[in-house]
């Protein structure tokens, strides 16, 4: 088993939200529910978010009037049945999609009204993604896959190389930089995906079933990496079916039939 290096990511200053007392805050958690320090500033604020899809002649309501605030540095899990709206919510949080109505604020940027180019810039700088299927490019090495996330930032070559090396070392893959995905285990591939997500030094990391394709030991390995990143101040939002993952979060949300509720005990 590869030893996981201690976290050493550079943190960004966080932007605080100002809120009014009238806003619907029913879903806002008031404090940390798990390990680590309690987050102090809100990174996300979702207000009355609805997302509907038109499928043939039917209108499908994926999200209905969701109000939610997620603090910077928080570790939040989203659970729920298939078709409950988890992926839709994650896509709205990840600036991959816009709500049909309502607002999604990320560090002062209204993602609901942002242009495609703005959303692209937000994704390039502020958000890291980790997918269940890893989504690595099979023809590229681990280092090259990680480097792909730096492509839109236009950094000098030397800095990119340094960042890539740091990110891979951070997830314990300093000795696997030249390996292609097919030469890596599932856990190692997911760690490459995490390195790709954090190499840009984002504010938030969104993970969709990051341990869904892994066995138990690899799951724990990945969770340790994610918790380490969260401890450094990275906001972590994880969609999961796995209760073992959810139990380690600061806050647990459940999405069912398009509505969200806090199930943190």
């Amino acid at each position: 088993m590869t030893e996981i290096a201690p976290p050493a990511l550079t943190k960004k200053p966080l932007t605080s939200f100002t809120t009014t007392g009238d806003e619907d805050m029913t879903m806002i958690d008031t404090g940390p529910a798990g390990v680590g320090d309690a987050p102090t500033a809100a990174l996300y604020r979702l207000t009355d978010v609805t997302r509907t899809y038109r499928q043939k002649q039917r209108v499908i309501k994926a999200l209905t009037g969701v109000g939610l605030e997620i603090g910077a540095g928080e570790f939040v899990t989203i659970q729920g049945p298939t078709g409950g709206g988890k992926s839709t919510l994650l896509q709205l949080l990840g600036a991959l999609d816009r709500p049909s109505s309502g607002s999604v604020m990320l560090a002062g940027t209204d993602l609901a009204n942002a242009s495609d180019a703005e959303l692209g810039r937000v994704r390039a700088r502020e958000i890291g993604f980790v997918f269940q299927g890893f989504n690595l490019i099979p023809t590229l090495t681990a280092a090259e896959n990680v480097d792909m996330a730096l492509e839109p930032l236009g950094l000098p070559k030397a800095e990119r190389a340094t960042r890539v090396a740091e990110a891979l070392a951070h997830v314990g893959l300093a000795d696997r930089t030249d390996h292609k995905p097919t030469e890596l285990s599932g856990g190692q591939q997911q760690r490459v995906a995490i390195a790709r997500a954090i190499v840009k030094r984002p504010r938030v990391l969104l993970a969709d079933e990051p341990t869904g394709n892994l066995d138990e030991s690899m799951r724990d390995e990945i969770l340790a990496v994610l918790e380490g990143l969260c401890a450094e101040g990275l906001t972590l939002i994880v969609v999961t079916h796995d209760s073992a993952v959810a139990r380690r979060a600061h806050r647990r949300l459940r999405l069912d039939k398009g509505t969200v509720r806090d199930i943190t005990r």
């Binding site: 992926s87 896509q91 990840g94 991959l96 999609d97 495609d116 180019a117 692209g120 810039r121 994704r123 390039a124 700088r125 890291g128 993604f129 997918f131 299927g133 989504n135 490019i137 099979p138 023809t139 590229l140 090259e144 480097d147 792909m148 996330a149 492509e151 839109p152 930032l153 990119r160 790709r196 997500a197 840009k200």
Partner: protein, 492 residues
């Protein structure tokens, strides 16, 4: 990173890369070979035309074709003193006539003046096409009884060989060669503009009215005539003052014998007429206008341009031209279209198969432009690979053609009608043998060369770039339409 990603994707998807590049390569190679062959055929046509019409001739003016029934065969009449009878009673006959070519109309000599007066004409020259026919042979002594004579067979002549006769053993031959009357003072345009003097000299202005001749070198070799010899033309002796050869190795000159125009007119008895007026326009832009003006000024004539002349080149060259123009061009177009469609379909299919990849790239912040650039870049490189391979294949094909050097025959229609036929050889000597030694002037074998022109290379590279761009445009358009949310949702 762009280059690394591009290289890895092309190497990682070898099969697609090879199929797309190979398709384009075959198309490019075909286009190169067809273009090159077409250029080769054009050169061959030009070469064939030059040997007949000379260099710099833009237009020709000829008389309209006579109606069927006009003209007809040449008749040889021998009077009582027409031959010399030897001691054994055998009569030797020989008669030479200079006649105008059958089925070829003539123009009044003043046509040249009319042509010269037309605006845009920089030079013009007239010629008179004639055929010299020599009937020669032996007629044995007439039998005084019904016994068989030595060397002959008495009897009824075979059916269809004319009526008459009643004795055999005679031997006759009809020998003919083409004669072109030219203006010695004006050879810059016309048949002699594309020849070189291989021996002796050319006709000069001082030769007007004189019995001097210049011979085609090939014909002279066949007839075993050299400079200084005398030949019989129309019953008169002509001194051979020079030999001319075509500037092309493969082609003969336009005629067997060249004599002064005025002598040709007098000797043939046709009067002040010419067969063809060769016209040079002041510039290539003026050719169409000059042609129109000439047609208006000379309504009873046929005015032909180089394009019209090219269509008179017959033989396998014509077949090759037709084959390349029709089959070759269409084959190239079809293969090119298939290659382009293949490249586009493979690219679109590739984008569809890489939905997760492009969705992920967009999710991590890649802009549409960057993703489209990636797809287009991959297609462009595939196109360029196809272009390079196609260039190599095309060059190899062209080199192979040039090594094989296929020979194709050419025959300019204007020169194929020189065979007059022994029209006057009536009578029916039973075993008479009629020779026919007409030179088939204008029918030559030309080695087809496939030249590599800048245009061929530009076309090949252009097709490669175009193929890549078209495929990249379609693939890029497909990738640009890919919403990251939908892409990630669709691959789950």
């Amino acid at each position: 990173m762009y280059g690394t990603y591009l290289r890895r994707e092309l190497v990682g998807r070898k099969k697609q890369t090879i199929i797309v590049a190979a398709g384009l390569a075959i198309a490019i190679a075909l286009v190169m070979i067809v273009n090159s062959l077409a250029a080769g055929v054009r050169d061959a046509q030009a070469q064939a035309l030059e040997s007949v019409y000379g260099v710099g001739t833009d237009l020709t003016v000829t008389g309209a074709m006579p109606e069927p029934g006009e003209g007809g065969g040449q008749r040889f009449d021998f009077g009582e003193e027409g031959g010399a009878t030897g001691e054994d009673g055998t009569t030797e006959l020989s008669q030479s006539q200079l006649v105008s070519e059958p089925m070829r109309a003539t123009l009044d000599a003043s046509t040249l003046d009319t042509v010269t007066a037309v605006d845009g004409v920089s030079a013009a020259s007239a010629t008179l096409s004639l055929t010299n026919m020599t009937f020669s042979g032996e007629l044995p002594a007439a039998p005084d009884d019904t016994t068989t004579t030595e060397g002959g067979t008495q009897g009824t002549p075979p059916q269809g060989e004319g009526g008459g006769g009643g004795f055999g053993g005679g031997s006759f031959g009809v020998d003919s060669f083409t004669v072109l009357g030219i203006d010695p003072t004006s050879t810059a345009v016309g048949p002699l503009s594309a020849v070189e003097i291989s021996d002796g000299r050319a006709l000069e202005s001082s030769d007007e009215g004189g019995n001097v001749a210049v011979l085609d070198a090939t014909y002279a070799a066949t007839a075993e005539v050299v400079v200084g010899d005398t030949i019989d033309i129309g019953g008169e002796d002509f001194e051979v003052v020079g030999l001319v050869a075509s500037t092309s190795d493969e082609a003969d000159t336009a005629s067997n014998v060249y004599i002064p125009l005025d002598v040709a007119q007098t000797l043939s008895g046709v009067g002040a007429v010419v067969s063809t007026v060769y016209v040079q326009a002041e510039s290539s832009d003026a050719i169409a206008a000059v042609q129109a003006d000439l047609e208006e000024a000379l309504p009873d004539t046929t005015v032909s341009s180089q394009a019209d002349l090219a269509s008179t080149v017959s033989g396998s060259l014509s077949s090759a031209s037709s084959l390349i123009t029709n089959l070759g061009t269409w084959l190239s177009v079809i293969v090119l279209a298939v290659a382009l469609v293949l490249a586009v379909l493979f690219t679109i299919s590739g984008v569809s198969r890489r939905t997760r990849e492009f969705g992920t790239l967009k999710a991590i912040g890649w802009s549409n432009g960057r993703v489209v650039g990636q797809v287009a870049g991959e297609s462009a490189v595939q196109g360029l690979l196809g272009g390079v391979v196609g260039l190599v294949l095309g060059f190899a094909g062209i080199v192979a053609i040039n090594l094989i050097s296929p020979t194709i025959s050419t025959a300019a229609a204007a020169e194929t009608s020189t065979q007059g036929g022994p029209g006057g050889a009536g009578g029916g000597p039973g075993d008479g043998a009629f020779g026919n030694a007409v030179m088939q002037q204008g029918s030559t074998d030309i080695v087809l060369q496939a030249p590599v022109t800048l245009w061929v290379i530009v076309a090949a590279v252009g097709i490669a770039v175009l193929g890549g761009l078209v495929a990249g445009a379609f693939g890029g358009w497909r990738a640009a339409r890919l919403s990251p949310a939908e892409a990630l949702r669709s691959v789950g």
